[in-house]
């Protein structure tokens, strides 16, 4: 254990003192976050397109409609619930207000001095677009309150129910922050090949083999170092996203940390496969590039899979990064799943096991 800790410390020091490694694993993704943040966080007065589903059909609904429109923040689009939900998933509307049957009757009864049972509007919002969801909640609550005030002296007749509808139309920054984290983890893992090949080429691995240090300690220390750096990357990228770009992280930290660990391990194992086949440091550099760029651009981490042509999407289906990006997006910002979270983790796990088997077979210490 003592030797594991001191070897990990030595490897971490070597990493921190290697300016190039530091740039690619920490500064590069941060630059990406800042770049995307600047491009996509353009301001402007907020105005929301909102679906309006009238299931009541009484004149009282007209009053509600004009109350919404008077707020000045929303443009209403009429339609059925199904049609509006489809529109919301496509990003055409930011939320949906449903007026269930019976609302008009209750309001009329209250105005006539009765005490009808409370009724409620239903508001659909996307939790991953926290700012928008919050704004729509405020507006809808205000409409309900003003309706209640109009029938003063009575217990409030109109409430608001909240429903979540996850969409793939995350705000751009919310979409990209998990993507950049996934990219950073991918690079971190794949680049693990380089110090490994370096240490083999410089005969450091051989020298370590001449000490009583068990081999699992060598592997364990490499993995420990990568996990520590992964934690730093996550804190940095998520921190900047939350603090400066208004990304709302909805997932629990435990789930995020677990997923980051699974992702880092999977890509470190791919790094080991590269180190198994690269004889020289130059070869390792070349191979990491060959693996890295297709992963980056064909994995749907920067371009949503939906907008890809079919042939490209079928390539992306094989990329482990597709699944890490998808999983991080689901857990961190509540993005709509490409596949269920369990499938994401299973695919990453399958890659991990396959890569471990391959590098167990082909990795050479000297």
């Amino acid at each position: 254990m003592r030797s594991l800790i001191s070897l990990s410390r030595a490897n971490l020091k070597s990493f921190v003192r290697d300016r190039a490694a530091l740039f690619w694993t920490l500064a590069f993704p941060v630059l990406f976050v800042i770049l995307f943040g600047t491009i996509f966080s353009g301001g402007g007065t907020p105005s929301y397109d909102v679906g309006f589903v009238d299931q009541d059909g009484t004149p009282a609904v007209t009053q509600l409609r004009s109350a919404f429109e008077r707020s000045g923040f929303v443009t209403l689009h009429d339609g059925t619930l199904e049609a509006e939900q489809a529109a919301m998933r496509k990003g055409d509307v930011a939320g949906i207000v449903v007026v269930p049957a019976g609302v008009g009757a209750a309001i009329t009864a209250a105005q006539a001095g009765g005490a009808p049972a409370q009724v409620a509007l239903t508001l659909y919002t996307d939790p991953s677009r926290a700012g928008t969801a919050q704004a729509l909640q405020v507006i809808t609550n205000a409409v309900a309150t003003s309706t209640n005030l109009a029938v003063a002296g009575r217990p409030p007749v109109l409430g608001v129910d909240h429903e979540s509808l996850a969409t793939q139309q995350l705000s751009n920054v919310s979409y990209f922050v998990p993507s950049i984290l996934a990219m950073a983890l991918m690079q971190l893992g794949i680049f693990a090949a380089i110090p490994l090949v370096q240490q083999r080429e410089k005969l450091i691995l051989k020298r370590l083999n001449a000490t009583p240090l068990p081999r699992w300690t060598l592997v364990g220390s490499n993995i420990a170092v990568r996990l520590v750096i992964a934690a730093a990357q996550t804190a940095l990228i998520v921190g900047i996203g939350v603090k400066f770009l208004g990304v709302e992280v909805i997932g629990g930290w435990l789930a995020i940390v677990g997923l980051v660990a699974v992702g880092a391990l999977t890509f470190v194992s791919i790094g080991y496969v590269i180190a198994s086949f690269a004889r020289t440091e130059e070869a390792a550099n070349g191979m990491t590039s060959i693996v890295q760029f297709p992963l980056m651009f064909l994995s749907g981490i920067f371009f949503p899979l939906e907008i890809m042509p079919d042939w490209l999407r079928s390539i992306a289906t094989f990329m482990p990064l597709t699944y890490l990006g998808d999983a991080l997006r689901q857990v961190m910002v509540g993005g709509a799943p490409f596949v269920p979270l369990g499938v994401d983790i299973a695919v990453l796990g399958a890659w991990l096991v396959a890569c471990l088997v391959i590098s167990g077979r082909f990795f050479r210490w000297q």
Binding site: R2, L7, S14, D18, K202, L203, R207
Partner: protein, 315 residues
């Protein structure tokens, strides 16, 4: 460094190699090698590059498995007890393999953490004259400094047996002598040393016993005197050629076996040096001359190597 009592191993052997073979593809790198290193001695494997010295040494260090044969280090079978052996031996590889971004002190501390028994880094830094470079990253060290650090790492666990693979290759003469002094110091502390070298004068200067290797085989083993004495019984008496003493007269002198000339010097090969010198001085006195630059020359390890392999050992 720590004084070490000769102990019970003083009489025994620390390395036993019996008929070890190792091939890489079609190349027989080590082809039936047997030798023994005694406790407390400096044993040298001498031979040209590619002779199988490093392969033999690395098998003893547990870095390569033999195809056949038996390797005992400190009484333990290397193929079965590699980890236990590694705790007690010190290893210096031919290429100094250091973490380039770590400082001298950090690398020593790191390697120290791998062993149960360890010497303080401060003492190693002092003993190997690395104090100035204590906090320098190893990538910025000179060749001699790297080599000394590499030896320091081989001593970090206070080993009983030290393996040094070509420890002075690439060093300038002063640095080489410094390292010889250090290796002799290891012996003085009671450690045993197995080293490889392709420098004849290095083997002559510091090795108690030498095995001459070529093409994966050991051609002969012994002290330098034994190796020479086995082949070259006669010695040569050398002096500046005296025109007044003819070859005919010289060859008549007591015990002289042969007379030769080399660049203005005369060589008298003899089986009995004192007798021939006496006769030579007598003859010179009789002729009224005195031999200048008189000295006794013996065959060197180089002559032995030439005799054994049919070629000279060059860098």
């Amino acid at each position: 460094m720590s004084a070490r009592a000769p102990g019970p191993a003083g009489s025994g052997s620390v390395i036993n190699v019996r008929d070890v073979r190792k091939s890489f593809g079609d190349v027989k790198a080590v082809d039936g090698v047997s030798f023994e290193v005694r406790a407390g001695e400096i044993f040298g494997l001498l031979g040209p590059n590619g002779a199988g010295k490093t392969t033999t040494m690395e098998m003893l260090e547990g870095l390569g498995k033999p195809d056949a044969g038996e390797l005992l280090v400190l009484g333990l079978d290397v193929t079965k007890h590699a980890t236990a052996i590694k705790q007690r031996i010190g290893v210096q590889l031919q290429t100094a393999a250091l973490f380039p971004q770590l400082s001298v002190a950090e690398v020593i501390d790191l390697f120290g953490s791998f062993y149960r028994r360890r010497l303080p880094a401060s003492r190693l830094v002092a003993d190997l004259d690395l104090e100035e470079k204590r906090d320098a990253q190893t990538k910025n060290l000179s060749g001699g400094q790297r080599q000394r650090l590499s030896v320091a790492l081989a001593l970090v666990n206070d080993p009983e047996l030290v393996f040094l693979d070509e420890p002075t290759t690439g060093l300038d003469p002063a640095a080489r002598r410094g390292l010889w002094h250090l290796i002799l110091g290891l012996k003085a502390e009671g450690r045993s040393v197995l080293m490889t070298t392709h420098y004849l004068e290095e083997a002559e200067a510091i090795c108690d016993r030498v095995a001459i290797m070529d093409h994966g085989r050991i051609l002969d083993i012994g002290t330098v005197d034994e190796l020479i004495g086995r082949r070259f019984r006669e010695r040569a008496i050398q002096f500046d050629t005296l025109p007044t003493l003819g070859d005919g007269q010289l060859s008549e002198l007591a015990s002289v076996t042969r007379v030769a000339h080399e660049d203005g010097v005369t060589l008298l090969y003899t089986a009995d040096v004192p007798e021939t010198i006496g006769a030579l001085l007598g003859a010179a006195k009789g002729a009224g001359v005195e031999p200048d630059n008189l000295l006794v020359r013996r065959a060197s390890l180089e002559d032995v190597f030439l005799e054994l392999t049919g070629r000279a050992l060059r860098d």
